[in-house]
């Protein structure tokens, strides 16, 4: 360290640069949106957004959104917490491939998953065709509870990944120490695991909440059916039906944004109080407390049941719908056909082109998002200073506004007449949009990994003469690579099924698999759309398996 002061200088520059990039990418488009909401009919009307909000109906809708968010947090916790514990502490932990399988619900576009459930449970649906006796039970599914169940089953993998990462970093030794001193399991969970988990859980729960209230697919398919209105469906109404009113939509979006920011603030306080250094110089290993064979079958049953509900039911419907000659005939062997897959996988067809578009665009977007996101996460560090917290907040913004609002902001910015970079209506614009929409994931994953690394590790590297570059490469990078990998996988997964932004931002004549599916639904080709869903989710799974198997070779702490 010849010149610490100039290095400190660089850190300041790095933060400033990160803030600058985030401002251009994320804040300016949102400001454009805000300008739209106060600048109406050619004049400035500051009161316009407030007038929209004064509506009592709207308050009910907002409460509906928030209540849904809370219920889905509860739902995902019930599903993900036991699963994370099982996948870290029991024999099932050896089945790493399960991690990819558990991502499948999250890879499934939400509206497809909901359609799967609807087709399964509706009147004369697949369940009634299989077991006619259950026809008196199925109407009960079309309720608020059913909506929470569908959304929880869709979102739980997200919380699971975060919790499992945190549990792994806790390692076994702390809990063993508790056990040696005579603490029973419940006490150990309450006094050791829970406090250590709280920071990661808080972050996960916040993102689940935000994802739920910004979610669009399930409310528009299932919520509409049961008459449960949320903010996103209201926003979407103003943005996609004549007369288009961006002002109203953006006013509503700013309410949603405020709700999300409040939750973010609560979470950041929580996380600052409960962040502990867990990854120190001592190697960590799995606890041997739970590895005995006893009781394994209970865990297996839990995992199988969860898979059955989160993948089995929706995919039964999706695959059934994709292999039917006539959907009016229903489940029957003589109604079975693979023609739709044949049509889909014909080389050079529109469907193949859109599939390739999806893969290439999400590859590019996830790679850029991971590189940028890691940089932001490291800049944020433990968000001690105001600058760091601002970076944290900015990098999270895209996750707090509904995708459609963010996208409108991006179009307003990048297609404005004074914009010197002609990015709009190119593939570059699509990549940029995906990067912006999904960068919060990498930031959160890497931040969560980075926050738990004890600084003694860096000091040790330095004491032994490691140059900053060396310390980064050999100490920091290996420790955050799992977080980066998780971020990459998540971004790739979501980008490859992204619908709302793609619908608005893809250049004319270009389709991705998600817009292709949507177009098939619009055109009444439900079977073809469902077949495409199966193919694209299958393709994503294969890609993830390849990445995971490459990644696991480099695991520093298996």
């Amino acid at each position: 360290m010849k010149n610490p002061s100039s290095l400190r200088h660089f850190r300041a520059w790095s933060i400033a640069l990160a803030l600058f990039v985030l401002t251009i990418m994320i804040v300016v488009p949102l400001v454009e949106i805000f300008v739209q909401s106060v600048y109406r009919d050619g004049e400035l009307q500051w009161a316009a957004p407030f007038r929209t909000l004064a509506d009592a109906e709207l308050f009910k809708v907002l409460m509906g959104s928030i209540w849904l968010g809370i219920c889905v947090i509860a739902g995902t916790t019930v599903l993900a917490l036991p699963l994370a514990w099982i996948m870290v502490n029991t024999r099932l932990a050896r089945w790493r491939w399960l991690d990819i399988v558990f991502l499948i619900p999250f890879m499934t576009p939400p509206y497809i998953g909901s359609m799967g459930w609807i087709l399964f449970m509706q009147k004369n649906g697949y369940l009634e065709q299989l077991i006619p006796g259950l026809s008196s039970v199925t109407p009960a599914f079309f309720s608020f509870g059913g909506m929470v169940a569908i959304m929880s089953l869709h979102l739980f993998p997200f919380l699971y990944l975060m919790l499992r990462g945190a549990l792994e970093r806790i390692g076994g030794s702390l809990e063993e120490a508790g056990a040696v001193l005579g603490a029973p399991f419940t006490y150990r969970f309450r006094r050791i695991i829970a406090p250590l988990l709280l920071s990661a859980y808080g972050m996960g729960a916040m993102l689940i909440f935000v994802k739920t209230i910004a979610e669009f697919g399930t409310p528009v398919t299932f919520g509409k059916r049961i008459g449960y209105e949320v903010m996103t469906s209201e926003i979407h109404k103003y943005i996609s039906s004549w007369p288009i009113d961006f002002g109203k939509a953006t006013s509503l979006a700013s309410v949603l944004l405020t709700a999300c920011l409040l939750v973010w603030y609560a979470q950041s306080i929580l996380s600052r109080r409960f962040t502990y250094s867990l990854v120190g110089g001592k190697g960590s290993r799995r606890s041997s407390l739970h590895s005995q064979g006893r009781g394994t079958w209970i865990y297996v049953i839990y995992v199988v049941l969860l898979l059955l509900l989160s993948i089995g039911v929706p995919y039964f419907s999706i695959i059934a719908a994709s292999t039917m000659k006539l959907r009016g005939v229903g489940l029957a062997w003589n109604n079975f056909t693979l023609d739709f897959y044949r049509e889909l996988l014909t080389w050079g067809s529109a469907s193949m082109r859109s599939l390739m578009n999806s893969v290439l665009l999400s590859l590019a977007a996830s790679t850029i998002a991971v590189v940028l996101g890691t940089w932001f996460a490291i800049v944020i560090g433990r968000s001690r200073t105001r600058m760091e917290r601002t970076t944290d907040l900015f990098s999270l913004l895209p996750n707090t506004v509904p995708g459609i609002v963010m996208v409108v902001g991006l179009i307003l910015l990048w297609n404005s007449p004074w914009m010197p970079i002609p990015l709009y209506n190119t593939y570059g614009m699509v990549i940029l949009t995906y990067v912006i929409l999904f960068i919060p994931y990498t930031v959160q994953y890497v931040k969560s990994a980075f926050g738990q690394i004890d600084s003694s590790l860096f000091q040790a590297g330095q004491v032994f003469g490691g140059k900053p570059h060396y310390v980064f490469r050999r100490v920091l990078l290996p420790l955050i690579v799992p977080g980066m990998l998780a971020g990459w996988m998540m971004t790739f997964t979501i980008a490859s099924r992204e619908l709302v932004a793609s619908l608005l931002i893809l250049p004319p004549s270009v389709q991705t698999s998600a817009t292709y599916i949507f177009a098939q639904f619009e055109q009444g080709q439900v079977s073809l759309g469902m077949a495409m869903a199966v193919v694209s989710v299958g393709l994503t799974t294969v890609m993830l398996v390849i990445i995971e198997s490459l990644g696991s070779k480099r695991k520093w702490n298996a």
Binding site: R8, L326, G328, Q523
Partner: protein
Amino acid sequence: MVNFNSIKMGWKKGTSLTLTLALGLTLAGCGSNANSTAKEASASANNSAMNTQANTQATDQKLVVYSAGPEGLANKIIEGFEAQTGVKVEMFQGTTGKILARMEAEKANPVVDVVILASLPSAQGLKNDGLTLPYPEAKNADKLNPDWSDKEGNYFSSSASALGIAYNTKLVTTPPTSWEDLTKPEYKGRINIPDPTLSGSALDFITGYISDKGESGWSLFEQFNNNDVAVAGANQEALDPVITGAKGMVAAAVDYMTYKAKAKGEPVDIVYPKEGTVISPRPAAIMKSTQHEENAKAFIDYLLSDEAQKLVSDAALLPGRTDIKAENRANLDEIPLLKVDWSWMNEHGAEVSDKFTQLFK
């Protein structure tokens, strides 16, 4: 004691620079293609402006179309137009709502040259906002149904659909013959109606019905509500449960979708109620902001040509020209019609849609 932060800074300077560069390059790389084509386009536009008018058509080979409605038909029309003129068409395909949202977002710097919408009031709205380019000289425009197109040539309805009652033939053995039939208790909870905020044609039906019957027309929709008629998304979303048997019927169903499903062999059919229904025309318009005016005009001419009108009829839509008959569907003269007032419907669309939404809340 050396600050831990200082270690991070060292590498970070290098990394952040690299990152920024990499991102910049990637995005520039992606953008450059389009950038150069855009430059070429504008260069050629400049050139042609300097040359004679005749040259314009030779150099300008591009057209951007935003089209709502059946994709198969739109693709065929574009193929036909490209084959005839050699102009390369870029198409964005979506619902009327999505197209309007995209145009609104692009308002400052419009991209689209020609729009084809599935809702006449939307096109009237575009015209009233001064966004359309009149083309009164369009070939065959005089043969179009005058009720559906603009006299000043701002929009041309090259096709139309009629709204009826679609029903599942396995579940409904004696199809209803009038709108009132749908209020019978035997159909309670078994009927869908498309959401007028998402489906332009459903809005056309509701406003059309009210414009014919006056305020008393609302009693039909009140009875619909009492009979648990479900408001279910856009047209296809409303029809799909009827195909799978979850629901029995769709009120105000778009007929060409039903004809298409029926042709595939699905157990559905459609009836037009005896007291009359509404036709939902599908207008095309040239945008005033077009960069490719000649191509846009040629496209309108093509839409109204015999060839394109034949494609329309093949897609089970009503041809916009009165002199061309549809072969595989009910023709206009076979469909009982309500007496609707389109200018009233345009003015009161938002109001009716709000009232309907409130009613079914």
